[in-house]
């Protein structure tokens, strides 16, 4: 699965006599990683960097799959396309991050091998993103929490010493800023809406809030790389509290979800909800190994 030919054909269209007229959509697509040096950066343990890219990539991949599950189930056609778009943004991030992980971990696995041929306990995503979709309020609550935290993280990673990770983060900031705005608009609308919508929105936040802290809990790999997620905690909580305040919702006070012997998603210890998601994600690739289309 490579984008090269797609980018080329779309870029070439602009140079043809009827190039602009030929496409109903815009031309001039650009590969954000074009020309970025993919050599492992010096002074960083490639295994640690690979593990970190896998964590962030798995977060994006699993949440992408959850968002895609809204297709045909969203309350409005417009929202369905919006959620699918957000999912595709995350899928793009996941592809680049998994590719990077495969380049650095010494196994030479590509993005597909990493996505389709790892089992649940090899996935490194936080548990927040794997939880079942629930209702639309839970969908936008999770989006708001995840996008706010991930935007804050990508903003810092945009000048990371690894040029590939930095490029992925720089593009991701723009995508996540929109995800946050989309989720925020719905949290405000439902929170500061009717009595019923406000209660459903508050219930959704109460249900998901205990899973938020895992995003700020450092893993040893993150500490060695100098990207301690605990630094994100305060700015992210401030920002979320601001949105909830305007939405007339209260910040849940529930304690963070417990770890299992000090281990959670980043160590491959997941909820039982990840398994069925991966089964759906992987079944075709595993039924037809090596198939192309």
């Amino acid at each position: 699965m490579t984008d090269d030919h797609v980018y080329l054909s779309l870029s070439d269209a602009a140079g043809e006599p009827d190039g602009e007229a030929r496409w109903a959509y815009g031309t001039g697509f650009a590969d954000p990683l074009l020309g970025v040096d993919a050599a492992p950066p010096s002074g960083i343990d490639p295994a640690d960097l690979a593990a970190y890219c896998l964590m962030l990539g798995d977060d994006a991949l699993v949440l992408s799959q959850r968002l895609i599950q809204w297709v045909t189930r969203a309350p409005e056609l417009e929202e369905e396309v919006a959620l699918a778009n957000l999912g595709l943004d995350l899928l793009g991030q996941a592809r680049r991050l998994l590719t990077r992980a495969g380049q650095l971990d010494g196994t030479g696995r590509n993005e597909d091998e990493l996505a389709y041929w790892r089992d649940e306990f090899d996935y490194r995503n936080v548990r927040l993103v794997e939880l079942e979709n629930g209702d639309f309020a839970q969908c936008v609550a999770r989006l708001l929490m995840f996008a706010t935290a991930r935007e804050e993280l990508y903003r810092r990673l945009a000048d990371h010493a690894d040029p590939v990770l930095a490029a992925v983060a720089a593009l991701g900031v723009k995508e996540l800023a929109y995800h946050r705005e989309y989720a925020q608009s719905w949290v405000l609308r439902l929170g500061d809406g009717t009595e019923h919508s406000r209660r459903r929105m508050q219930d959704a936040l109460d249900a998901l809030w205990p899973w938020l802290d895992e995003l700020f809990t450092p893993h040893e790999v993150e500490l060695r790389l100098g990207v301690d997620p605990l630094q994100l905690r305060e700015p992210v909580l401030d920002r979320l509290a601001g949105v909830l305040g305007v939405a007339t919702l209260s910040v849940p006070e529930a304690a963070p979800r417990a770890y299992v012997n000090g281990r959670a998603g980043r160590h491959g210890v997941h909820t039982e909800e990840l398994g069925p998601l991966l089964a759906e994600l992987q079944v075709v690739a595993r039924a037809h190994p090596g198939a192309t289309w």
């Binding site: 815009g26 031309t27 697509f29 919006a82 608009s185």
Partner: protein, 97 residues
């Protein structure tokens, strides 16, 4: 429930393409308010790099000509060839006329 949903007003969407000068009508959508319409327009009509600027406007804010008045409105301009700048030679090195 469907009655509730059907009450979301219709909006018309205009996109300014990267290299064009004018916003062009591209379609319509349903939204509960102006901002929601703008976000939905972004998601529905610019996801393939179609544009750099968006307008949305409530469909009921548009006053349109009616098919019944097509003849008095538009037929009279059909035979006024002298309104086109075709009665003098255009120098070959002058483009974009």
């Amino acid at each position: 429930m469907s009655g509730e949903r059907a009450s979301w007003p219709l909006y018309e969407v205009f996109v300014r393409p990267r290299r064009g000068l004018n916003h062009v009508h591209v379609g319509s959508l349903h939204a509960a308010d102006d901002r929601m319409a703008l976000l939905a327009a972004r998601d529905l009509y610019t996801r393939r790099n179609e544009g750099v600027s968006l307008w949305v406007v409530r469909s009921d804010a548009i006053t349109a000509s009616s098919p019944d008045e097509q003849d008095p409105f538009f037929a009279p301009s059909g035979d006024k060839v002298y309104r086109h700048p075709t009665f003098y030679p255009i120098p070959e090195d002058v483009p974009h006329i």
